[in-house]
């Protein structure tokens, strides 16, 4: 067993505990520095795990409890390059967030670095867990930390409301997950995901299996923010402090989808066939992608805008997973990592604006961003990357989806995905042009309310050295865009996905210690159609940005016609995002019922 495997969890958690224990006796600054060093160590170890797990998965049994006769006695971590890459993403974003927040949270002493470290440890554990209940424990841990960090700005209604909505909806989601785990335990007598998969495989999927699948997927969709489980997300991300948003939007949402992919392939793929489930999950993914993009367009509060862009991206990643093919899974791995870095970079850019100009409002900042050119470049680069500009990561991920969808007969899916990218990335580019270029008009009645005045401010702006702000932004954007130049990135993603898709080989390795023969990485180059989608969506995003800026210069006839068609749906959509937690829980219940009903219909 590889000695490095427990460390991405153990290092941050132990450091957090030590900072709490000795925080009183160790000076300020030192705790920030210790947190940064611990996160950097986690980053290095996670990256090493990506390479070490390249040939075969690393299986680690805590307490040395190896399975006996195919029955898991203890808890396992199953490290594959995909999971290790997610852990690396967590550590990277956390490192950027901690550097950015240097001296930001002096007011609360060691509490902020401590909570961030626990957050990192929990997310790494979640990314690597191979045991269903263990997954749930890390889920709970990262949720609890996230609620507390979201509510940081306790003196304003926004953060309190955001944190409460976040906590209540996600708790209900986690109870759904626990119910699903209970049902599976009753059927299979196992908590290890691979063992559950072995027990379910080849049997007819009855009500219990279908409902357990529904509850698990619904619960993790709540965390991910898929429609209609997404309402809490925009409330929470719009009010959390920027360094926290980097982690929330950059990786926490995607982790929910990572879990869905693992649970389907390792646990359920032997009993629920891909052809049955595919249309249901694709439906949820596409609605999420379009709805997120559309709501994104209506925002002027930059953090809330990026929150809806996150939802739109989540929809796209979900579609990749929902194809339930090797290519789709590979696409989701690439998408999740590159998009997460780019969204994180965009959030850092917003953080720079908030610190500098005390505002996170697109209209209010019009033209003022010229004095923060690096933030502008980062923000625009993130927008272009998310717009599927070839050859960068999101484009590559989309290319994998395009090819896979065509062979499955879902050729209509990629155009919808491209439209979603146009909507969300076009909006980000619009904001970039207005803030950093001074383009467009200074007012737009279509937009939602302006952000609250509660933009958190550092204790003393003058003491913050500028490089600590722009280095994380630039680094995240560069890594996000540069990731695609890793040799054979798509091939490695495909090979890794292939290992997860082969359920029985995976279970044999885990439960009986028989590793499958190493497979060579296939080579992959995007098809012409994929390039066409990439170029079209980039141009579309630019055009959509221009539309957002100069919408009111269109001929009056066109605008009247558009108003007749769009005004009521727009008002309706805005009204749905009411900010009332009771509404959100009612939607969550409805979402579970619809998901379960749909799965029941397609399977039966």
């Amino acid at each position: 067993m590889d000695v490095l495997v427990p460390l991405p969890v153990a290092i941050p958690l132990l450091t957090a505990a030590a900072l709490t224990a000795f925080g009183y006796w160790c000076g300020r600054r030192l705790d920030d520095l210790i947190a940064i060093v611990a996160t950097a160590a986690t980053l290095v170890i996670s990256l090493l795990l990506v390479f070490r797990s390249n040939d075969h998965d690393l299986v680690y049994w805590f307490g040395g409890w190896k399975p006996s006769n195919g029955v898991a006695l203890g808890i396992s971590f199953t490290v594959d390059p995909g999971g290790a890459a997610v852990a690396t993403l967590v550590a990277t974003l956390a490192l950027a967030a901690l550097v950015f927040s240097w001296r930001y949270f002096d007011e609360v002493g060691t509490l902020f670095p401590v909570l961030m470290l626990v957050f990192v440890g929990a997310m790494c554990g979640f990314a690597l867990a191979g045991d269903l209940f263990n997954l749930f424990v890390w889920f709970e841990l990262m949720s609890v930390v996230a609620y507390a960090l979201t509510g940081y700005g306790v003196e304003h209604a926004g953060p309190l409301e955001g944190a409460i909505n976040f906590a209540v909806t996600n708790s209900v989601g986690s109870f759904c997950i626990l119910f699903g785990i209970g049902f599976l335990y009753a059927r299979t007598g196992a908590l290890n995901l691979a063992q559950i998969g072995e027990a379910l495989a080849g049997r007819h999927a009855d009500g219990l299996v279908i409902v357990a699948f529904t509850l698990l997927v619904g619960g993790f969709m709540t965390k991910a923010g898929a429609v209609p489980f997404h309402f809490w997300l925009s409330d929470a991300y719009a009010v959390a402090p920027v360094p926290v948003c980097i982690l929330l939007a950059g990786v926490m949402s995607d982790l929910g989808l990572h879990a869905i992919a693992r649970i389907y392939w390792t646990g359920f793929s032997g009993t629920l066939t891909a052809g049955d489930i595919r249309p249901v999950l694709i439906g949820f993914g596409l609605v999420t992608a379009i709805m997120g993009g559309f709501m994104c367009f209506l925002q002027r509060d930059l953090k809330r805008m990026l929150a809806f862009a996150t939802i739109s991206n989540i929809g796209a990643v979900l579609v990749g997973i929902a194809l339930l093919t090797r290519s789709g899974l590979a696409s989701s791995i690439v998408y999740l990592n590159t998009n997460g870095l780019l969204r994180g970079a965009a959030f850092v850019a917003v953080g720079i604006l908030v610190r500098r100009f005390k505002s996170g409002d697109e209209l209010d900042l019009r033209g003022r961003g010229r004095r923060a050119p690096i933030a502008g470049v980062v923000f625009a680069a993130a927008g272009l990357g998310l717009a599927l500009l070839p050859p960068f990561g999101p484009f590559l991920a989309n290319a994998l989806v395009v090819d896979s969808a065509d062979t499955l007969g879902y050729g209509w899916v990629p155009p919808v995905l491209a439209l979603a990218a146009v909507l969300s990335a076009g909006t980000i580019l619009r904001a970039a042009a207005r803030i950093f270029g001074g383009l467009g008009e200074a007012k737009d009645p279509l937009f939602s309310h302006e952000p609250e005045e509660s933009q958190e401010e550092p204790t003393d702006t003058r003491r913050v050295s500028q490089p600590l702000l722009w280095i994380p932004a630039a680094a995240l954007a560069l890594v996000g865009l540069g990731l695609v130049f890793v040799p054979e990135l798509a091939g490695h993603a495909l090979r890794n996905a292939g290992r997860l898709v082969d359920r029985s080989a995976h279970a044999r390795e885990l439960l009986h210690g028989v590793p499958p023969p190493p497979a060579p990485a296939p080579s992959y180059s995007p098809s012409a159609a994929a390039y066409a989608y990439g170029v079209a969506s980039t141009l579309g995003a630019l055009a959509f940005a221009a539309f957002g800026l100069y919408r009111r210069r269109l001929p009056i006839v066109l605008r009247r016609a558009a108003a007749r068609v769009a005004d009521r749906p727009v008002a309706g959509l805005k009204a749905l995002h009411s900010g009332v937690v009771g509404d959100y829980v009612a939607w969550l219940t409805a979402g579970i019922a619809v998901l379960g009903g749909a799965v029941a219909v397609v399977v039966r």
């Binding site: 805590f62 006695l73 306790v154 009753a186």
Partner: protein, 248 residues
């Protein structure tokens, strides 16, 4: 969405969810007919392999000890979160609550009662792997002993007992201690959280290998976490953020 619409939406959705849940329940083994392998195997193996008569404790601290580490950290993080959320702005000087109890007899009674609670808590923690109990339950009782001092005694006496830096030290040590015990096994070449100590004989306090260590670490963590939680809620001032802590 108005209240009426919300309840209507929920009504329809809840019917669907109820139908789903009932459907799945028909697939469960009948109540009392459970035959899952995992629990059966552990019931058979744990008392012999681990010399613990309480199999639940063996599962909590050994077979699934890694889960417990996560749970302990949830406790830790939630309490840290409460401390952060209930912080007072530094300018506001929160008033020190007056001592509400005036009767010396009541105080004496309260303090001796606290002593009894303390002993009970220690007993529950100590015997966790022999009989029902353990660090988690006993920790709450131990914290209650501190609470009794607060309720019956004076606020100042309580502050003396539960000084924030020491409670923080205890909490950090409890959470960190668990991780350190795990890492020790790693250092000597075993898996994380692998057993470190001889097993002894079941039914004795010295039995169970590493289980007592992890049990006491959890007990310390839970006690400290609940004392901090009670502190935060009862005094409603930021005990954790002492302005004297750093020059500002």
């Amino acid at each position: 969405m108005t209240r009426r619409v919300r309840l209507a939406l929920f009504g329809v959705a809840a019917c669907g969810l109820a139908a789903l849940l009932l459907w799945s329940i028909t697939g469960l083994p009948k109540f009392g007919d459970y035959h899952g392998a995992y629990g059966k195997i552990l019931n058979k193996r744990a008392p012999q392999e681990r010399q613990t008569s309480n199999v639940v404790a063996a599962v909590v601290f050994d077979y699934r000890g890694f889960d417990t580490m996560g749970e302990e950290l949830i406790l830790f993080a939630a309490v840290m979160g409460v401390a952060m959320l209930l912080r007072e702005p530094r300018e506001e000087e929160a008033p020190v609550p007056e001592d509400p109890v005036r009767s010396d007899a009541l105080r004496a009674f309260g303090v001796s009662f606290a002593g009894a609670t303390l002993v009970l808590g220690l007993w529950i923690v100590a015997h966790g792997y022999v009989t029902p109990g353990g660090g988690f339950q006993g920790g709450v009782v131990l914290a209650a002993a501190f609470l009794l001092v607060w309720l019956a005694g004076s606020y100042r006496a309580y502050r003396g007992l539960a000084r924030a830096p020491f409670v923080e030290l205890a909490e950090g040590s409890g959470a960190g201690g668990y991780v350190v015990i795990g890492l020790c096994a790693l250092l000597i070449g075993d898996a994380f959280l692998h057993n470190l100590l001889p097993y002894g004989v079941a039914g004795k306090l010295s039995s169970g290998g590493s289980i007592p260590l992890l049990n006491w670490a959890s007990g310390l963590e839970v006690t400290a976490a609940f004392v901090l939680l009670f502190n935060e809620f009862l005094s409603e001032r930021a005990v954790l953020i002492d302005p004297t802590r750093r020059p500002s």
